[in-house]
C-alpha cells in the first residue's frame, strides 16, 4: 500500500506544512477578516435600521399620545362650553318664564277685580230693578204708593240675607 511507504512521508509532510501554513496565512489575514467585516457590517446595518425603526415608532407613539391628549382637552373644553351654554339658556328661560307668569298672574288679578266690580254693579242694578218692580206691584195691587227709599231698603234686606 503506497500509504505505508515511509520514503514518501517527508515530502508529503513538508508540502503539507508549507501549503497549510500559506493557506492559514491567506485565511487569517485576508479572507476571514473580510467575511467577518461584511457579516459585522450587515449585523450593524440591521441593528441600526431596527434602532431607527424603534425610534420612529417611539416618535409616532409620542405624537399619537399628544394628539389624544389634545383631543381629550378639546373634548373637555367643548363639553364645558356646551354645559355653560345650556345652563345659561336654562337660566334665561327660567327668567322669561317667571316674568311671563308674573305678567299673567297680574292680568288674571286685574281681570278678577274687573269681574268682581261688574258683579257688584250688576247686583246693584238687580236691587234697583227689584225695588222698582216692588213699588209698581204694591201700587197696582193695593194702591199704596211706597217711597223709593223704603222699597230699596226692603229689597236690600232680603237680598243681603
Amino acid at each position: 500500500m503506497p500509504q505505508f511507504d515511509l520514503a514518501t512521508f517527508s515530502e508529503q509532510i513538508f508540502w503539507l506544512f508549507v501549503i497549510f501554513a500559506v493557506l492559514y496565512m491567506l485565511m487569517s489575514k485576508i479572507a476571514l477578516p473580510k467575511v467577518g467585516e461584511v457579516l459585522e457590517r450587515r449585523h450593524k446595518t440591521i441593528e441600526d435600521n431596527l434602532g431607527k425603526a424603534r425610534a420612529l415608532k417611539d416618535e409616532t407613539d409620542a405624537a399619537i399620545a399628544k394628539y389624544e391628549a389634545a383631543l381629550a382637552e378639546a373634548r373637555d373644553a367643548a363639553q364645558a362650553d356646551i354645559r355653560e351654554a345650556t345652563e345659561k339658556a336654562a337660566a334665561e328661560h327660567a327668567a322669561k318664564t317667571e316674568a311671563l307668569v308674573k305678567k299673567l298672574s297680574k292680568k288674571t288679578a286685574d281681570a278678577e277685580k274687573a269681574i268682581a266690580g261688574a258683579k257688584d254693579d250688576a247686583m246693584k242694578g238687580v236691587a234697583d230693578a227689584a225695588s222698582d218692580i216692588a213699588r209698581e206691584a204694591t201700587d197696582k195691587l193695593i194702591g199704596v204708593k211706597v217711597q223709593a227709599k223704603t222699597a230699596e231698603k226692603a229689597v236690600l234686606a232680603i237680598v243681603g240675607e
Partner: protein, 240 residues
C-alpha cells in the same frame, strides 16, 4: 487495468531535497496546492464585493464561515474565538482535499496516513500546549477527573492516558481509512462494470449510489475531523 491501490501512489513531479531530506514536489503536493488555491479563490473572489445582501457565491462563503464559527462556538465557547482561523483552514483544507479526490484520476491527499497524522499531531501538540499554558500542572488533572475515588486511580489514570494519547491516531486513521476504503471500493466496483458485459449495469448502478455516498463521506469526514479538534480544544481550555 490499474490496480485499486495505484490511485494512491505518490509520484514526484519535481525532485527536490533540502539538507538531505527528500522534499520533492509530488502529485500529493500538487493537489494540496489546488485545494489551497480553490479555497482561497472561493473565500476571496466570492467576497470581493462584500455586498450587504449577498449573492450566491458570497452566500456560500458566508455559510461556510458561519458554519465553522458556530461549530467552534458551540463546542469551545468564546474562548476558542482566536483559534477560528486555524479551525476554518483545517476544515476547508480537509474538505476540499476530500472532495477533489472525487474527481476521476485525481489524487486524494487526505487518503494518506502521513498527511493526516501530521495534521493530527499538530493538533494534538497544539492542544496539549494550550492546555498546559492555561492550566499549568493542573492540566494533569485531565488524567484523573476530580471527584473520582482515589482507589480508582490505578485503573483510571492509565485509561485516561491511553485515551488521551490515542487521539491523534484515531483522528488520522479515521480520515485515512474512510478515504482509502471509499476510493478502493469505487475502483473495484468500477472494474466490474466493463468486465461483465450487459450485466455491468448492476455494478454501475451501485457505483452511482456509492459515488453519492462518497461525496457525503467527503464532507462528513472533514466535519468529523474538525469537530473532534474542537472537542479536544474544549478539553484543553475548559478541562472536562
Amino acid at each position: 487495468m490499474a490496480g485499486p491501490l495505484e490511485q494512491f501512489e505518490i509520484k514526484p513531479l519535481a525532485e527536490l531535497s533540502v539538507a538531505g531530506i527528500d522534499v520533492s514536489f509530488t502529485n500529493s503536493a500538487l493537489w494540496m496546492v489546488l485545494a489551497a488555491v480553490l479555497v482561497t479563490c472561493f473565500m476571496t473572489l466570492s467576497m470581493r464585493r462584500g455586498a450587504l445582501v449577498p449573492g450566491r457565491w458570497q452566500g456560500a462563503a458566508e455559510v461556510m464561515y458561519e458554519f465553522v464559527a458556530n461549530m467552534l462556538k458551540d463546542n469551545v465557547g468564546t474562548a476558542g474565538r482566536k483559534y477560528f482561523p486555524f479551525i476554518f483552514t483545517l476544515f476547508m483544507f480537509v474538505m476540499f482535499g476530500n472532495l477533489l479526490g472525487m474527481i476521476p484520476h485525481s489524487f486524494t491527499f487526505t487518503s494518506h496516513i502521513a498527511v493526516n497524522f501530521a495534521l493530527a499531531l499538530v493538533i494534538f501538540v497544539g492542544v496539549t500546549v494550550i492546555g498546559f499554558m492555561r492550566h499549568g500542572t493542573h492540566y494533569f488533572r485531565m488524567f484523573f477527573p476530580e471527584g473520582a475515588p482515589i482507589a480508582t486511580a490505578i485503573i483510571l489514570i492509565p485509561i485516561e492516558i491511553i485515551s488521551y494519547f490515542s487521539r491523534p491516531f484515531s483522528l488520522a486513521i479515521r480520515l485515512f481509512a474512510n478515504m482509502t476504503v471509499g476510493h478502493i471500493m469505487l475502483k473495484v466496483i468500477g472494474g466490474f462494470v466493463g468486465l461483465i458485459g450487459i450485466l455491468g449495469v448492476l455494478p454501475f448502478a451501485l457505483l452511482t449510489g456509492i459515488t453519492v455516498l462518497e461525496f457525503g463521506i467527503a464532507a462528513l469526514q472533514a466535519y468529523v475531523f474538525t469537530i473532534l479538534t474542537c472537542i479536544y480544544l474544549h478539553d484543553a481550555i475548559h478541562m472536562h
